[in-house]
Amino acid sequence: MLIAIPELDEEQVESTLARFRTVVQRTGGEAGEWNIWGRRKLAYEIDNRTDGFYAVMEFTAGERTLNELKRMLRVSDDVLRHMVVKLPPDYAQSGQRSAEMAETAEVPE
């Protein structure tokens, strides 16, 4: 999951997300599609910003992918915050919930 800065327009977001997806693929990982939650309010301010652009992607990764991806995420100015989480092996069965959540994510507060 990553939070991109809200200043980007749609095209810039697309290209940023695509860039990380290719990083995974280029370094030998399998990348799923981005699940785009869209712009939402942050629970607290980060760098004086009150909202961010959320996107989630599932992927498989070896050590090489992980190191490179994390480095890119850290360096990128477009990414406000990111998190890589190891999913349990039986995640696929309970994974359909994230699709529902994406739809409710854009409710403004």
Partner: protein, 86 residues
């Protein structure tokens, strides 16, 4: 009926009846407590944003731990507040 009183007059404080709440994760068959499901996690934090105690949530030790981790992850990604001001 209703209130259970302590047998001896002296120790009424200790003998609160313990009602066990059903563990909702066992009930709904959820195997992975997802940090992304912040609306579900809302149930386990107070209105100040603190994680509710096990005796309040009625979760099993394992689920309580998993909820705690999930809440902390959600906080890091600004899905839940660290402190909810009021």
């Amino acid at each position: 009926m209703g209130k259970r009183r302590a047998p001896s007059k002296s120790s009424s404080r200790r003998e609160r009846p313990v009602k066990s709440k059903p563990d909702i994760f066992n009930q709904e068959g959820i195997t992975y407590i997802d940090y992304k499901d912040y609306n579900m996690l809302r149930r386990f934090i107070s209105d100040r944003g603190k994680i509710r105690a096990r005796r309040v949530t009625g979760l099993t030790p394992q689920h309580q731990r998993e909820v705690a981790v999930a809440v902390k992850r959600a906080r890091e990604m600004a899905l839940l507040p660290y402190v909810a001001g009021k």
